[in-house]
């Protein structure tokens, strides 16, 4: 199997004083290259924790997390940072743009961290991406001059600018109205299809789940199953899943 992310029997505990909260309880999951995968579940089900482990910003308590062939538990802090920089793109719920930089500079930022391309190449790549997200006319705008949807598109461009293998998006539509949210998911989907980039995004919005290739449903830190979007939406809406819509 062509898995770009491989998770085996992973647990993640958080210590709140003397209380231990088990955020993940033995999760096993494979994500294939080119997937457009949604992680669904109610608040507190462990979606963000799972994304953090895949995004190498946190480590598992037990189990194995492999990203692009690297066992993240065996990497040092510096190597994890480099893995994030070169392999993973992030899209955040609150966009998390650098407010003092303009659109172009925000998108260029990861390329400057990489320090691989010349200024001209950087410019070409940033402009091309901004064209793809429809913001090439807003290069000089600062984030506070943009709408929520525009900001998230800038964030998508920033996540893709280093041509990562995986893009992680944590509730990317949560702060957007439903029309804008759908448009953002459409954009992500089209980029997934044209560039072949793997997208993993968490959501509890069944309208958003519908766009995914597959949905991994979490509850109480456990994977309930890998489902088709229709199954997941039905589950989310409390309905029986039609036989033809069930995952194989």
């Amino acid at each position: 199997m062509d898995a770009i992310v491989s998770i085996r029997d992973v647990t993640k505990d958080f210590h709140l004083g003397e209380t231990v909260v088990q955020a993940l309880r033995g999760v096993t999951l494979d994500v294939r290259k080119g997937d457009f995968l949604s992680i669904a579940g109610p608040s507190g089900s462990g979606k963000t924790t799972l994304l953090n482990l895949i995004g190498c910003v946190d480590t598992a308590t037990t189990g194995v997390v492999q990203v692009a062939g690297h066992d993240t538990a065996k990497l040092k802090e510096r190597e994890l940072t480099n893995l994030r920089l070169n392999t993973i793109g992030f899209i955040f719920q609150s966009f998390n743009l650098v407010s003092v930089l303009n659109v172009f500079q925000n998108v260029e930022f990861p390329l400057l961290l990489q320090n691989k391309l010349s200024a001209a190449d950087r410019k070409q790549r940033v402009v091309s991406l901004l064209e793809q997200v429809g913001l090439h006319t807003h290069q000089k705008h600062r984030p506070n001059e943009l709408s929520g949807g525009q900001r998230q598109r800038v964030a998508i461009a920033r996540a893709l600018v280093t041509e990562p293998l995986i893009v992680l998006a944590d509730e990317p539509t949560a702060n957007l109205d439903s029309a804008t949210g759908e448009a953002i998911i459409d954009l992500m989907k089209s980029l997934n299809q044209t560039r072949g980039t793997t997208f993993i995004f968490s959501t509890h919005d069944h309208k958003v789940m519908r766009h995914a290739n597959a949905v991994v449903r979490l509850a109480d830190g456990k994977v309930l199953g890998r489902e088709t979007p229709e199954e997941a939406v039905a589950h989310a809406m409390g309905q029986e899943v039609p036989r033809e819509a069930r995952a194989p």
């Binding site: 963000t48 994304l51 953090n52 995004g55 910003v57 946190d58 802090e77 510096r78 940072t81 480099n82 994030r84 920089l85 070169n86 793109g89 992030f90 955040f92 719920q93 609150s94 998390n96 650098v98 407010s99 003092v100 930089l101 500079q105 930022f109 990861p110 400057l112 961290l113 990489q114 320090n115 200024a119 920033r158 280093t162 944590d170 509730e171 949560a174």
Partner: protein, 710 residues
């Protein structure tokens, strides 16, 4: 790398005005930097001008003195009097070694010490004149000024001078009567003084005067002159030096009154300020001070000090009244009557009215005083061309005196009004050696001659006991013979060599001037900027010549004075340190707050792939940019302020500051020193105060970017 740095700069620059606290920090850095640059610039300029004063007036660039000295050299004095310096006995060798060193322009030998002169009182001076006139009348005078005066003119002058003395006696009697009336305790009135005054006030004393003029003069000298209390001791600080070399090397020195001491001659030059302040007729000096003050815009009507001068001139007319003889008194009364349009015939009353000046009447009266009255007065207690008797304690503790001719007065250009530069007089080295108790070539010759005449032999110290008290010692005590000492006979021998006239006329060779002890020496440099390296070279050259000589800079040699700027500088640093410390505390707190507020941003940057070092650099750079922007503004403003002050200059607020300003105005210039130091301080302050918040920022986990979403 450069692009990344540019990005960080961009973030830092954009954050600059993002928070009001940054404006507060910036304001503190701005004010601190202005204070530092302005005061630092002023101190630098002050240091440079003071260096000019110290170097140009006495010290030279480098000073040399004996390494065996107990104290350190302090040219401008120290606590507890002049320093105890060991003598430099090998000046010619020192000079030779020093002149070999590159960058040395000249070496000037010196000896700094103090002495006193007494100025005789007004009665003494009048009696001396009278005695001279009687001697001239009898053809006994050696005074060339009286040689060709016809007898009837001599008689006229004698009458006039006698009238002068009688006038002085009148004044003294008046004083005595007033004292007798006012004093409650009559025991303090000396009956002998009263009797003497009564005697010289009588007509009989003056009728018999010509019968025995010398006897009468002696009575006046012994019994009346001591009752006049205007005799004063004047303390003189002087530098014994090679006057010719001094004037060539200290090129700011110029003769104000009189002439320079001829090359190789003994002689004395009085500092002009001291001459004016201490030797000038006090009334005239006060008039000068009023004139100077009015020129500066002060007014008698509003200025208490000027009012006091006017009051003192009005009430202290005595020194003028006492000076004028009969003829001159009449003339002065006539002139004052005409000027004041008065019929008053009492000189005292006329002078009191004359000196009661106002802002309106001052100019005319000042001019009248100098045009009409001054020519009849002795304006200075010491006349140029006079021979002064200067007394001092020698190193061995006994009192020595030398007679030296006063050739003129001098001042240093720009320092004419500075008491610090204007209180040191100049004397030739030979007289200095006499006065300080060192063997001069004259005295060495005299001793040798005495030894030869008396057949004395030199005895080593360790053999002295055997020579004096041993078996072969012979007769130790000489036979005493009764009789009167014939001074003329005594003086006709070797002692005559030292006779005043000879010494005044004698011309010394450079070798004679150089040979013999000095206390210190000033070294002038071609290029003062190479002071340190030249000092090292001087030390090495002197050490290799086997000479134990300390080499010190002008700053060290000037003693406490040289430390003043250093003290000011410490105060400045303390003040600025306080401002910057406050800035550091605020920056630290502000950056802590900023870091806490920006955890999501920093977490995001970390999540998308920034290493911790980048976060560290970002936070540090932010406050460094803040410091550079506001500190830079402060530096530019400070430099502009200093340059602005420099355009007009700062007027010396008082005479003392003339020395520090090296003239009447200080024109500060912007120097690199304070700017560079300010930059270093700003970088230090901003970096150190941000270090902890920056380290804290590197600890922020990339998780914070995600957690903010929940």
């Amino acid at each position: 790398m450069i692009d990344r740095l540019a990005l960080l700069f961009r973030i830092a620059a954009r954050n600059l005005l993002a928070s009001p606290i940054n404006l507060l920090i910036g304001g503190l850095l701005f004010v601190g930097t202005i204070v530092f640059v302005v005061i630092g610039g002023l101190l630098d300029s002050l240091n440079t001008s003071m260096a000019r004063s110290v170097v140009g007036s006495l010290a030279g660039h480098v000073q040399l003195y004996s390494a065996r000295s107990k104290d350190e050299l302090a040219l401008f004095g120290q606590m507890g009097g002049d320093p105890d310096l060991a003598a430099l006995t090998e000046f010619p060798r020192i000079k030779e070694a020093v002149e070999q060193v590159p960058n040395v322009k000249a070496v000037v030998p010196m000896g700094l010490s103090g002495a006193v002169i007494t100025s005789g009182n007004i009665v003494d001076r009048s009696l001396e004149v009278l005695r001279g006139l009687y001697r001239a009348k009898k053809g006994e005078s050696s005074d060339v000024r009286l040689k060709d005066v016809p007898p009837d003119e001599l008689d006229r002058r004698i009458v006039s001078e006698k009238a002068h003395v009688r006038q002085i006696i009148e004044v003294l009697r008046g004083d005595a009567d007033k004292a007798a009336k006012d004093l409650l305790d009559q025991r303090s009135v000396d009956p002998e003084q009263v009797a003497a005054l009564a005697k010289v006030s009588s007509a009989a004393f003056w009728d018999d005067f010509d019968a025995d003029p010398y006897g009468a003069l002696e009575f006046l000298e012994n019994r009346i002159a001591p009752q006049v209390t205007d005799t004063s001791l004047i303390f003189l600080r002087y530098v014994g030096t090679d006057l010719d070399a001094f004037q060539q090397s200290f090129d700011r020195m110029r003769i104000i009154k009189g002439t320079p001491v001829p090359k190789g001659h003994r002689g004395f030059l009085i500092a002009d300020l001291l001459y004016e302040e201490q030797m000038k007729l006090r009334t005239a000096r006060r008039l000068d001070k009023i004139r100077d003050a009015l020129a500066l815009g002060r007014t008698i009507a509003t200025d208490d000090e000027l009012k006091r001068y006017v009051r003192e001139n009005r009430t202290q007319t005595r020194e003028i009244v006492l000076q004028l003889d009969g003829l001159k008194t009449q003339e002065a009364v006539r002139q004052l009557q005409a000027f004041l349009d008065s019929r008053e015939d009492d000189l005292d009353a006329l002078l009191t009215r004359f000196f009661d000046v106002t802002d309106e009447t001052f100019a005319a009266r000042y001019a009248f005083f100098y045009e009409r009255l001054a020519p009849t007065l002795e304006l200075y207690r010491v006349r140029l061309g006079d021979t002064l008797t200067i007394k001092a304690f020698t190193r061995s503790g006994y009192i020595q005196d030398v007679n030296v001719k006063v050739y003129g007065t001098f001042a240093f250009t720009g320092l004419e009004k500075s008491p610090l530069a204007g209180n040191t007089n100049l004397m030739d080295l030979m007289s200095f050696r006499d006065l300080y108790g060192y063997l001069t070539s004259d005295k060495a010759a005299e001793l040798k001659e005495l030894q030869r005449e008396r057949g004395a032999k030199s005895v080593a110290r360790e053999d002295a006991e055997a020579e004096l008290f041993g078996e072969d010692s012979g007769q130790v005590v000489a036979e005493a013979t009764a009789g009167v000492i014939d001074v003329d006979k005594e003086l006709s021998g070797t002692g005559r060599l030292l006779h005043q006239e000879d010494l005044v006329r004698r011309v010394y060779t450079q070798q004679e001037i150089d040979s013999g002890v000095v206390l210190n020496a000033a070294v002038m440099l071609e290029d003062p900027r190479r002071l340190d390296e030249t000092m090292q070279a001087l030390s090495a050259a002197l050490a290799s010549a086997g000479l134990e000589v300390r080499v010190v800079s002008w700053q060290k040699a000037s003693g406490l004075l040289g430390q003043i700027i250093a003290v000011f500088r410490v105060l400045l640093f303390v003040g600025v340190a306080i401002i910057f410390f406050i800035a550091m505390v605020i920056i630290n707190n502000a950056m802590m707050m900023a870091t806490i507020q920006r955890t999501q941003l920093i977490g995001t940057i970390r999540a998308i792939g920034a290493q911790r070092t980048l976060v560290l650099a970002m936070v540090l750079l932010e406050s460094v940019v803040l410091g550079l922007v506001f500190g830079g503004l402060g530096m530019a403003s400070g430099a502009a302020i200093v340059a602005g002050i420099g355009l007009k200059g700062i007027a010396a607020p008082n005479d003392v500051m003339y020395f520090f300003f090296s003239g009447p105005r200080l024109a500060p210039v912007v120097t690199g020193g304070p700017l560079v130091i300010a930059l270093v301080i700003i970088l230090f302050v901003t970096t150190v105060s941000t270090l902890f918040p920056a380290l804290l920022a590197t600890r922020i986990s990339p998780l914070r970017a995600m957690q903010a979403d929940e």
